[in-house]
Point group: C2
Chain length 231, copies 2
């Protein structure tokens, strides 16, 4: 093999995008999947994936594939990693670039999904996914947790206004562990990234629980820090 | 365009790897580059890059390319991101997967580099790099800083034994800002991740400065937390 292969003498590859879309509802994190439409593993649960074409960037391919398979549009997606093991796809050599996104299921239009073959599954069912998709989900969850521990993300999984109880449920789902309520509240409030609203959520108790929102400053900070590799 | 292109009807791409190798010496972070050997932009400074071939994983391609162009072996590399904009490479459509690595220049065998066309440049000269390599370096630096702020990395840029002054110099170079010596030491020591050795570095003062090493526990923790996507 020559030291530096030129453009014309190098191999070319199928490149896929796989979208890992998380939702949070009823204290549970869920994953959006679809029934694979082609062989091999036709009919098995798969991440929202497809092949990149030459007239689009990799990032645009992810948006197109997500929209074509689920109807979802305008969802902010962040690249997780690229999977390039030789045999990850048994049918052919395919290099896959994964993206993850967070959806607030309360705001989400469920009707849309029923028009497609897309369905939400709990994280606990992810071992049934095809190929190395389970690994991809694990890696995306690890990234999500890392960002959440810096309170840099996770809020997208919640409605714009949320109670501290909802926020705690989310963190308990993310880390698969029960958290001490008082310590959690103390920690979150000490970060000074939330504004307490005058409204209360009275759906679960007569006394009610205050709604909170991310402060404008913190929202601006999050926007600035968000990865947006132009690719 | 059909909704889900099949293996046989999808386009295939040149896939490249680009290695971003940082070194730290004399309070300065440096980047390893080589003189590009093919057109376009022949002779211009480039990241250590090359094309992936079909008989290797993407990760192995990065190791092979690094070794072929610089002689370096057994360097731990971590994937940063994939760059898939249509026109990022003016000569052809190329999707590039980048990796970053940290080298302790004190331990490094400079003779090795002189046998190749590889050279270290200060970060301040990175705007001369070809294509989108400057963006790739910026993104790798952002990742490095994020990890360093959690004291999760950065130590690889230092010798196994280092003084707190050396550690502070590194952080000042990473964040491009002078740090208060007392606060920095207080912070680092409060993390309890370092063991102070009995030896002193007497090269810069008669009194000398204690050498420190990462504690075994912390080294084990870092190993565990390191991304190692099997790709």
């Amino acid at each position: 093999m020559s030291i530096l292969n030129t453009y014309s003498h190098s191999d070319r590859f199928l490149v896929a995008v796989d979208c890992i879309v998380f939702g949070f509802t009823n204290k549970e994190i869920r994953l959006l999947t679809f029934k694979r439409a082609i062989e091999p593993e036709k009919g098995k649960p798969s991440l929202i994936g497809g092949f990149v074409q030459s007239d689009e960037s990799v990032e645009d391919a992810a948006k197109r594939v997500l929209n074509k398979l689920t109807g979802i549009e305008n969802l902010y997606m962040e690249q997780v990693a690229t999977y390039g093991a030789i045999h990850r796809d048994p049918a052919a050599r395919v290099i896959s670039v994964t993206y993850f996104a967070l959806i607030n299921l309360e705001d989400y239009d469920e009707e849309l999904l029923t028009r497609y073959d897309a369905k939400w599954i709990p994280l606990s069912e992810c071992q049934d996914l095809i190929f190395d998709h389970k690994q991809m989900v694990d890696d995306a969850m690890a990234l999500l947790r890392r960002k959440a521990s810096a309170f840099a993300i996770g809020f997208n999984l919640l409605p714009e206004k949320f109670t501290l109880t909802q926020l705690q449920s989310l963190y308990e789902a993310l880390y698969c562990e029960a958290l001490d309520k008082r310590n959690f509240r103390k920690k979150v409030l000490s970060l000074e990234i939330l504004n307490r609203l005058d409204e209360k959520d009275k759906r679960h108790s007569r006394k009610g629980a205050y709604f909170y929102m991310l402060s404008d400053d913190y929202q601006a900070k999050l926007k600035k820090e968000t990865y947006s590799f132009s690719k």
